[in-house]
């Protein structure tokens, strides 16, 4: 069975060009990049500094030294939130975040709550965008950090980063954003923020590598999560994994070169996908915002059917759902719950993730398969029957 991958928000395949760039750094150029006494170390060091430059170019910052390598955006988010909280505790004990953050941000905030911080969540509007007026009112003298996800991983909505930045700058509050889902998809200007988390595997790079942009002027103080040789400006100790760093750099370089074209291609494919589904099926809802979203992330709810049952009808297609039945905890997506008071929206949801290697043929096949599956499942759904009866009356 040939499988079709449409779950690009979960992870992306590593681009072959990225892998090719990485290969020499495993066995041939293996020196410790922190060994400055010999040529093996120096070559590895140079490769890492090149990667740092490639990353900083993509996120539009001048000084590559503002980039700190980490193991991924989970670590970057943990460092940013806990690092700021523990460094600035004396200046205030309030962190503002949103209910639609990634688990690692929410859990980091929970951890800080146990250390005495006040965690406040800014409300999210029905389209998945945070309420800016509410944020403005929430930011006060006690606030040390605002952490808002740039693009949500489930619904793909783009937050108003510029406006959030303005609110934070006005009050002198640090601003962190988890940019895992947005890097390489649309232009991103990290200088609007003080801290920005980046992931390798969401951008056709390798798994196990990420980065954190840490503004140096004026310097953001970050208490490290663990201690060691003081690498990465003391923020993240440990020998850097040269091949992975090189891979992340190359992934950023490719993304920068191809972003413009790829963005339009995916927007066209995605819009075609949505239109075909909506033209062929009644009562389908797009979760999130139709305009303010990254191309390639499509989250739909199909009234009357459950997400896992829907996916079961297409075992050759890799998709995901916010339904409780697909989660180990049996709780539905908290992101969809935050934007709708109807819990069944989450149970009936399907996330379709298009990416670099998605073709029109795949879009045709999967959309047709979804239409066919929804019709089949609605025929056996008591909720759809009820709908139908109400309509007939």
């Amino acid at each position: 069975m040939k499988t079709i991958y449409m779950d690009y928000q979960a992870t992306t395949p590593c681009d072959r060009r990225v892998l090719d760039e990485m290969i020499p750094y495993f066995c041939d150029i293996f020196g410790n990049p922190h060994s400055s006494t010999h040529i093996a170390g120096t070559i590895a060091h140079k490769a890492i500094e090149k990667a740092r430059k490639q990353i900083s170019d993509l996120i539009m910052i001048e000084d590559p030294n503002d980039i700190v390598f980490t193991s991924g955006s989970t670590e970057s988010n943990n460092i940013a939130i806990q690092g700021v909280a523990r460094s600035y505790k004396l200046e205030g004990a309030k962190i503002i975040t949103s209910p639609i953050e990634h688990k690692c941000v929410l859990e980091s905030c929970e951890a800080m709550k146990r250390e005495g911080f006040d965690i406040v969540k800014v409300p999210v509007l029905e389209n998945g965008i945070i309420d800016l007026n509410a944020l403005e009112n929430l930011v006060d003298d006690k606030t040390v950090l605002v952490s808002i996800i740039f693009v949500n991983n489930e619904i793909g909505t783009i937050q108003p980063i510029e406006e959030i930045s303005k609110i934070c700058r006005k009050r002198g509050v640090l601003f962190h954003t988890d940019a895992s889902q947005v890097i390489g998809k649309i232009p991103v200007d990290a200088s609007l923020t003080d801290l920005m988390s980046i992931s390798g595997h969401k951008t056709y790079g390798p798994k196990g590598i990420g980065a954190l942009y840490v503004r140096a002027k004026p310097r953001v103080k970050l208490m490290p999560l663990f201690w060691g040789g003081g690498q990465e400006r003391g923020i993240r100790s440990g020998t850097l994994p040269t091949p992975l760093c090189v891979g992340l750099g190359k992934a950023c370089e490719i993304a920068q070169q191809e972003m413009h074209e790829e963005r339009h291609r995916l927007m066209e494919l995605g819009n075609y996908f949505i239109k075909k589904i909506m033209d062929n099926l009644p009562k389908v809802y797009l979760n999130g915002d139709m305009e303010k979203r990254i191309p390639g992330c499509i989250n739909l709810s199909f009234e009357g059917i459950e997400g896992e049952a829907l996916m079961l009808n297409m075992p050759d297609v890799c998709l995901s759902s916010g339904s409780a039945c697909t989660s180990d905890s049996l709780s539905p997506s908290y992101v969809l719950e935050a934007i709708s008071d109807r819990e069944e929206i989450a149970h009936s949801s399907l996330r379709i993730g298009l990416g670099r290697f998605t073709t029109l043929e795949e879009v045709e096949y999967v959309s047709s398969k979804i239409i066919e599956s929804v019709i089949k499942l609605r025929a056996i759904s008591p909720l759809w029957e009820e709908q139908w009866n109400i309509q007939k009356k």
Partner: protein
Amino acid sequence: MEYSKEVMLRYNNPQNVGSLDEMDPDVGTSVVGAPSCGDVIKLQIKVDENGKISEAKFKTFGCGAAIASSALITEWIRGKSTEEAKQIKNKEVAEYLSLPPIKAHCSVLAEEAVDKAIKDYFTKKNGGVDGKIN
């Protein structure tokens, strides 16, 4: 989620899907679960003059396990007396379908649907009094 062959068989080709006339005095109807929980089973039985379940129909909103559990239980209760049908336990459904532990609640819901449909049948028969069955 990896399901057993028995689940996939019923998910792909469920028997007994449909509805019976709710107004028929020989029909008992139940609706269990809630849309907000992600599972709703509507189950109907028709009982003949010998007290046997001659027809069983269902419609299910839910995951593969919920669909398979309701399909299987309608297969099992057909031809049985209401008393015998009440003896079927969710554990037997879960075991037959090799449901993963996290999906056990789907079989519980199917058992509940049968019990409630039988109860509804007797409530209707006895003019609002839910007769000998309890």
